[in-house]
């Protein structure tokens, strides 16, 4: 009798442990196929949500809207219109791509270089300076080389300043580079006011309109749809992409960058000088962003203004992050973002929709893709059905 009651007491006292409904654990590795699937699903979800937004706010058929977006980038009523549109799209992709490539080494090192906007502007200012003051004295390709060098050096200096402070005194680089952006904008405003033409217009106007000195020359057409004047843009972008890929994946310095990004302590134990890596990488990052300014001024706008960068420095941050610093994936991400941007201008004019809808759609899609990182990095373990004792 007593043993029974003892057993009953023991059984009643056993604590009940409830497992949480969802438990998170970090994934070590996800196969490439699954990663692509997760991202594609996120993209799809984003497109669906954006379509819902379009439908509810504006009462338009979302499929028609997406078709119009595609049309705005790659289509057109006749061949000339298609040429213009496709060339324009490719040109925008190139500029954004160069900026993304500039940020890739910095971000891989976990140095949050939010100053691409300012570095591009400073590079553009240097380019415009050479164009305006030496457009007549230096001829031909030499002028372009001088402009490029000027842009690279100035951009590198602009990136170097925050790097030095981070390397030596651990100053927060996100905020420092952000502030450098605004100082660059003001310097650009100052230069625009100095160089303004005509006087009082507060804009520089097209630089060297008669001689085309310093403009990107028409080299060669690619296929029927890409205009010759953008050949150099594409060339520079592709060379940067391939070089950055090789640099990050297959060079000793790229390896050092990866180690510093992973863990500073590991880098120190391995004998890598973290300070030197930070400074060297930011010089490269600023230089390439300056090069983007060179492309923007000499190859695209042929002028300089505070909107030369046009917020692309910030978009490039998202591009670099989403493509996981892989230069080839960056091409895809840039295409997506430029598609959203240009497509939205198209739907703005075609459907009398406000052109800012593109920002909303871009934002929604980016939110979903950013959120999908979670499913790549973490695994959700759901509570299994309780087993009977």
């Amino acid at each position: 009798m007593s043993s029974n009651s003892e057993a009953a007491v023991v059984k009643a006292k056993k604590p009940v442990v409830k497992e949480p409904l969802v438990r998170l654990s970090k994934r070590t590795n996800m196969s490439l196929g699954m990663q692509i699937l997760v991202r594609a699903l996120a993209l799809l979800l984003g497109l669906v949500l954006a379509a819902l937004f379009i439908f509810f706010i504006t009462d338009l058929n979302p499929i028609e809207v997406y078709e119009a977006m595609w049309d705005g980038c790659f289509g057109g009523v006749n061949e000339m219109a298609m040429r213009l549109r496709i060339s324009g799209t490719i040109k925008d992709i190139c500029t954004l791509l160069i900026l993304g490539i500039a940020l890739a080494p910095a971000f891989k090192m976990r140095f949050w270089n939010c100053g691409a906007e300012g570095q591009m502007l400073m590079g553009g200012v240097a380019t415009a300076f050479v164009m305006i003051n030496y457009g007549d004295s230096i001829q031909g390709p030499a002028l372009l080389i001088v402009m490029a060098l000027a842009a690279i050096v100035v951009g590198a200096v602009w990136g170097l300043i925050p790097a030095i402070f981070k390397a030596i005194w651990n100053t927060n680089e996100t905020l420092f580079t952000l502030m450098m952006n605004y100082i660059a904008i003001q310097i650009t405003s100052y230069c625009v006011a100095c160089w303004e033409n005509p006087f009082g217009s507060n804009s520089v106007g097209i630089i060297n309109p008669s001689t085309n000195a310093g403009w990107f020359p028409d080299i060669m057409e690619i296929g029927t749809y890409i205009e010759a004047k953008y050949f150099l843009n594409i060339l520079i972008a592709l060379i940067s992409a391939v070089s950055m890929y090789i640099y990050l994946k297959h060079s000793k310095q790229g390896f050092e960058i990866a180690v510093v990004g992973e863990s500073e302590n590991t880098a120190k134990y391995a004998g890598i000088s973290v300070k030197k890596v930070i400074i060297r990488t930011m010089i490269i990052s600023g230089a390439i962003a300056g090069l983007a300014g060179f492309v923007g001024v000499a190859g695209v706008d042929h002028t300089i203004s505070t909107s030369t960068a046009g917020g692309r420095g910030f978009t490039a941050i998202i591009v670099a992050w989403l493509s996981k610093f892989n230069a080839y994936i960056m091409i895809l991400v840039c295409t997506l973002i430029v598609f959203l941007d240009r497509g939205a201008s198209q739907i703005a004019s075609q459907f009398q929709l406000n052109e800012y809808a593109s920002d909303i759609i871009t934002g929604i899609i980016l939110f979903t893709v950013i959120g999908s990182e979670f499913f790549v990095n973490y695994k959700m373990n759901f509570r299994k059905a309780a087993k009977e004792d």
Partner: protein, 398 residues
Amino acid sequence: MAQIISLLQAAIVFGTVIMFGCVGETLSEKAGNLNLGVPGIMYIGGISSLAASFFYEKNVENPSVVISIIISIVACFAASALAGLIFSFLTITLRANQNVTGLTLTIFGSGVANFFGGYLNKLAGGVGQISVRETSEGFRKRVPVSDSLAWKIPMMIILVALALLFVYLVVKEVMSVIKAQINKPTKGIRPRDKSMIKLAFRLLIYIACVICLVWMLLNYDSFTQIVFSYGFMTYVAVLVAVLTHYFLKKTRKGLNLRAVGENPATADAAGISIVKYKYLATIVGAGISGMGGLYYVMEYIKGTWANDGTIEGLGWLAVALVIFTVWKPLNAIWGAYLFGILYWMYFYVSGLTRSSQELFKMLPYLVTILVLIISSLSKKKENQAPASLGLSYFREDR
């Protein structure tokens, strides 16, 4: 003199916008969330307050200004908090990278605001046509200061009392220094007296305040112009800054929040709910920042909407101000006004060409960089950024 008063007035109005943004962002950053979406949140706050009061005014026969004001404030806070919720969900639950999420929120917020701004303008009849004049005037209603003795005497008494308070503080400091000198040990190891410099600095500030107060007493008109030319939200901003300071420094929950921002692993081990504090801090912080947008729309541009990028620039200045104030909300009060003075100074300094004006506009950002450098040189723990700023927390990493 009139120039200086005009500069101060412009500075205070400008400063209030970024003060709201700064205090909200400070709250969020103290919990470890670097919310770079502040410009987007201010956009969203501005447009939602405008839309709410616009629809109220249009659809009600005799709109009551008070209700319209309440509706716009509530709408602004709700919309900004919702934007903060999106950010919180992505960064806290889904542990996404905070920089990228914040920048996306800025893009999204500016898109939403400019899109609906254009849409509202179209509804109202054209570009820049939307105007919620009555509500805006309600917001901008000045404190009814008059020359009558009923106002003057209490004001003078307050000024005199404040001046006497500062004089008392000066006297107290000097007395304590004298006492310390008298009681100083003549032999033995004496610690180096760095506090002398701080003391001198404090005395300088007190004496400057006394001089300002006496000047205000003597120039009563200028004083009323400087202090009373604004709508009520200006004073609400100062109140919010003081309350946030009190919450962070003097309450248990504020202490927990600061712990979450400094070292979430330790706070988690101590039983503080990281998720709850981070969420609440970011959402409430976003709500407060959004009020900056409301103030901009209602008081700065007087109840209309223009699709220019001014709010975005103000938002980034607010982020800069957080660093400038070394994450202390009380500093936001004078810091915001100082930024306003620096920003508008180019307008009031004579002899500047249009080009050198642009260089002047750099001043707030240069000053922020200086503070950033000095604070990282300083190594003093109180002046550092919250240690886990920008990092997401995963318990298993502990």
